[in-house]
């Protein structure tokens, strides 16, 4: 076992919370290393609907969360506009919905500081032409869309530019304790295939839904509730802004347009493990049927795929919240909690940050790093709320932005992905930056995300990987066609439960391309390790 490095703080978890913690530490001049078991954003941060919360969803029952959301919504628009689509949102009242709830909703928003505007039926339809004709009333709120991978990359780049380090594919495997302190963490270098230690003064557990496992390795009990949410991806946007049902949160009450698709969400079910991301087909049907009440065109639309994510819900010791597996987890507050394991468990140098949600990731980081800094004797105040992220000078993300870019550069002939407007230049840059897997290209560039679901782009990108590798394009796992097969099978896992109608035709045509024309026989069976490494986020 070799000693990898020494640092002041080890941050565990490469989701938005962990990366936000790393950036906060970097801005305060603290040396820190983040370790992540897969790639950045492969847990909950990559498996969600992409809603920048206004807080209105929590305005009736969870006003603490609602206030956190609207504060951070405003902050993120300032420091990370390039990751945000400023599309606004509506809460719509359908026949059968309770008008008394609408009144509570308006009052809750007012009390939480969320600006709302009541729209008449006609005004709502002018804004969202595909809304159901029987929508009676709507409230406009400052919801938005946010691209978590873009946010992750910006925060990580900022932290790295300030001297902190990010180690992906380094799962935590243990902690070395000396009395009441952790002296080092053990990680497994998945690429080199060996364990290493990182000597440290402090540990921040930001593993989200997996915080309990990190706690177990450190010897402290943390009870997380795995709250699974299923989401359905439709092949076009349908709506200009976010559309929510104005009722007590329930399955299938939100439509978030994102890039070229719309995401329908979500269920909220307690499951035994955060790694349970299976998609029950009945959930897909329910989501479509419920969302079609708000936007009827969804009922006959093309479903691209479905996926599930695991909410990082924290079960506090004292009051019994949450319930048995199978129960609804909507009653668990979406606010966050800092656990100081010194006072709580007698472990002197570890904090955990649990609960919360993507919209509040920066505030969560600030809260835990404030506590840590106090104990470390670091007096530099938090500046993450005012210091813009790299890329912030580009303004908010416009859905037509990629098209404008392609038109400006006259790069049509350079497109390798027509759905998501990804050019050969972008893929070349990503390959030059060291990406070797199609899955990584997908998270970076959205290759394979669009309505054709990789019928054309994946093999073009595989060709570019092959050209880049040259003679090194050998047989075995590193072979570009083996990588392509892994990619296709990984994509398929999220598709086959949602295929009928036009999408069935698309699937069989894609099959006729890959198996029929190109004669890929699927012999490069992805092994378990490769499948685990390529496990990735959605959304």
């Amino acid at each position: 076992m070799s000693h990898l490095l020494e640092t002041d703080v080890v941050v565990v978890g490469g989701g938005v919370t962990g990366v936000a913690v790393l950036r906060d530490l970097a801005l305060r001049g603290v040396d820190a290393v983040l370790v992540e078991r897969f790639d950045l954003g492969t847990g909950t941060s990559g498996r969600w609907h992409g809603l920048l919360h206004s807080g209105a969803r929590y305005a009736v029952r969870d006003q603490e969360s609602a206030r956190e959301c609207i504060e951070e919504n405003t902050t993120l628009r300032r420091i990370a506009p390039h990751t945000i689509e400023d599309i606004g949102g509506l809460f719509v009242l359908l026949p059968g919905d309770d008008e008394a709830y609408a009144a509570k909703f308006v009052e809750g928003c007012r009390a939480s500081g969320i600006p709302t505007e009541e729209l008449s039926q006609a005004a709502a339809h002018r804004r969202e032409p595909l809304l159901a004709p029987d929508v009676r009333l709507a409230f406009a709120v400052p919801d938005g869309g946010i691209d978590s991978w873009s946010l992750l990359r910006s925060m990580a780049a900022d932290a790295e530019a300030r001297g902190c380090r990010v180690l992906v594919r380094h799962p935590l495997v243990g902690a070395e304790r000396d009395g009441d302190r952790i002296t080092a963490v053990r990680v497994h270098d998945a690429v080199a295939g060996e364990d290493r230690t990182i000597g440290c003064q402090w540990v921040v557990n930001a593993a989200g839904a997996w915080a309990g496992e990190v706690g177990r390795m450190a010897g402290v009990p943390i009870t997380m509730i795995a709250g699974k949410g299923v989401m359905v991806v439709m092949a076009s946007r349908y709506v200009r802004g976010v559309v929510n049902a104005c009722r007590k949160p329930a399955d299938g009450d939100i439509i978030v347009p994102q890039h070229e698709v719309a995401i329908l969400g979500t269920t909220s079910e307690q499951v035994d493990s955060a790694d349970d991301i299976s998609v029950p087909p009945a959930d897909v049907d329910r989501m479509i049927d419920m969302c079609a009440q708000m936007v009827p065109a969804i009922a006959s639309g093309r479903v691209l795929r479905a996926f599930a994510g695991s909410r990082p819900l924290y079960k506090a010791e004292a009051p019994a919240v949450g319930g048995e597996a199978g129960g609804d987890t909507r009653e668990v507050s979406r606010t966050f909690t800092v656990l100081d394991h010194a006072s709580r468990d007698g472990l002197g140098n570890m904090f955990s940050i649990v609960g919360g949600k993507l919209t509040t990731c920066r505030q969560m980081a600030e809260a835990v790093v404030d506590r840590l800094a106090e104990r470390m004797g670091v007096t530099t105040p938090c500046t993450t709320a005012t210091e813009p992220l790299p890329g912030a000078d580009h303004g908010t993300h416009q859905v037509a932005g990629p098209l404008a870019r392609v038109e400006r550069d006259q790069a049509y002939g350079e497109l390798i992905c027509e759905c998501e407007l990804v050019t050969r230049g972008q893929v070349r840059e990503a390959i030059a930056a060291g990406l070797t897997e199609l899955e990584d290209l997908r998270r970076r560039l959205r290759v394979g995300y669009g309505p054709c679901q990789a019928a054309f782009c994946a093999w073009r990108a595989a060709g570019m990987l092959a050209e880049a590798k040259g003679d090194a394009a050998a047989a075995g796992d590193g072979h570009p066609l083996a990588g392509l097969e892994r990619f296709l099978e990984e994509r398929w896992r999220g598709q086959w439960a949602t295929i009928w109608g036009d999408q069935a035709r698309q699937a069989l045509l894609n099959h006729a391309i890959y198996r029929g024309i190109f004669d890929l026989q699927g012999l490069g069976v992805p092994d378990e390790a490769a499948a685990a490494l390529s496990q990735a986020g959605e959304g």
Partner: protein, 426 residues
């Protein structure tokens, strides 16, 4: 409107059936929603490429190993042979000669460097990869990767090296698709500028693999001319859709159908039928803002399976035939449609209409549900064209069968197009 026979669908089966029926003197109306599998396929005539996952050497002989109910069993081996013979004559007459022998499969090189088993290949794709092989792209054409192709060919023991030929100056320097490149290569001047660079990239090679883009509207002439200028055999590799060899073939069918006086309605899908007891009396199709009825004696459905849009796969696992509402065996819910691996087999691909030996659709009891509907090609149940590699073979064999069945039927409207067919289209 009236027609003797209405053929619905312009894929490999509908085009062959319409042509053969018109050649037999029937007055034909061809209705099509849009382009069919000619535009999607690899540009080959697959008869039977694999049985049980294993490559087949003798496709006609291997028919015996197919399961009961397969379209080949219904029409018989002679219809398969007849279909292929007819196609060879037709394609040669149209300036697109195909090479191959129904008794033995051959290998078609693909853009991935795989060698897919097939039966007949258009001349430009039919060359054998001998000696040193150069895999050459035209610089800037994004749908072909010589590195990917050559890497796989080397694994198959072929001495292949990737190379690139410069793109001659033309008016599409920033933006071109395979179709545009193929159209440019139709031009003799462009070819003479392309040839020297291609020859340099091919220097020292015994065979040159190129993407299948060597000409669009002039048959195989641009390929032959370029090959003569380069001085080395050129072999076109199968690329992704749209298939340029398929576009060449489609154009040849279209010329032939026009010469035969076949009426052609493209972009107006058939949406229903009118019936009198067990006979269809008319086909309804979408017209400009209204539904049109065409009265007919016979209806030939060549609308394809689920992939071809002849059958709708519903959310609840039931399947609907989209023109005549013919019975189609459904599934126990939609999860049974597809297999757990994308590159594996998918039951839905083999779903279709069950027919009797005269290609008439039958109900669950095996009795025909209509006396004058015939089904051909991908619409038929009990075969998976992709997994088996049987698409064009089934299309041509069932078109041969339907031509034999319907040519003999006396026609009330005969005489409408009895003038002899014109010279072969080029």
């Amino acid at each position: 409107m009236r027609a003797d026979v209405v053929v619905v669908g312009a894929g490999p089966a509908g085009l062959a059936a319409a042509t053969r029926l018109a050649e037999a003197g029937r007055q034909v109306l061809l209705l099509a929603r849009g382009n069919g599998f000619t535009h999607w396929g690899p540009g080959a005539v697959d008869v039977l490429g694999r049985v049980g996952g294993e490559p087949v050497d003798q496709p006609l002989a291997a028919i015996d190993r197919l399961p009961e109910g397969h379209p080949y069993h219904l029409v018989g081996r002679e219809a398969v042979r007849d279909g292929l013979d007819w196609f060879s004559r037709f394609s040669a007459g149209a300036g697109l000669p195909h090479i191959g022998d129904p008794e033995h499969n051959r290998a078609q090189v693909t853009a991935f460097g795989t060698l897919r088993p097939t039966c007949l290949l258009p001349e430009p794709a039919a060359g054998v990869l001998q000696g040193r092989v150069a895999v050459v792209n035209v610089a800037g054409f994004r749908d072909f990767s010589p590195g990917l192709c050559a890497a796989r060919l080397r694994e198959a023991g072929i001495d292949a090296t990737p190379a690139s030929a410069p793109l001659p100056a033309w008016d599409h320097d920033r933006y071109f698709t395979g179709v545009e490149l193929a159209r440019a290569i139709d031009d003799a001047g462009f070819r003479s500028r392309l040839a020297p660079g291609l020859a340099r990239a091919a220097a020292g090679a015994d065979t040159v693999v190129v993407p299948a883009v060597l000409g669009l509207n002039r048959g195989h002439e641009p390929w032959a001319d370029l090959q003569a200028q380069v001085g080395t055999p050129l072999v076109e590799a199968a690329t992704a859709p749209p298939s340029i060899p398929g576009l060449r073939l489609f154009a040849a069918y279209r010329s032939r159908l026009e010469a035969l006086g076949v009426r052609w309605q493209f972009g107006f899908p058939a949406v229903g039928v009118e019936r009198d007891r067990d006979r269809v009396t008319a086909v309804q199709s979408e017209g400009a803002s209204r539904v049109l009825s065409t009265h007919c004696q016979e209806l030939v459905l060549a609308t394809g399976g689920v992939a071809g849009n002849g059958i709708e796969a519903n959310r609840d696992g039931t399947l609907s035939e989209k023109v005549a509402g013919l019975p189609v065996q459904g599934f126990d819910g939609r999860l049974a449609y597809l297999g757990p691996r994308f590159l594996g087999e998918h039951p839905l691909a083999a779903a279709g209409v069950r027919v009797d030996a005269e290609l008439r659709p039958v109900g669950p009891d095996g009795e025909p549900v209509a006396a004058n509907i015939r089904c051909v090609g991908g619409l038929l149940a009990a075969h998976d064209p992709t997994i088996e590699g049987s698409r064009e073979g089934v299309a041509l064999a069932t078109a041969a069968r339907v031509a034999a069945l319907l040519a003999a039927t006396p026609s009330a409207l005969r005489g409408a197009n009895l003038e002899p067919p014109g010279p072969p289209a080029r």
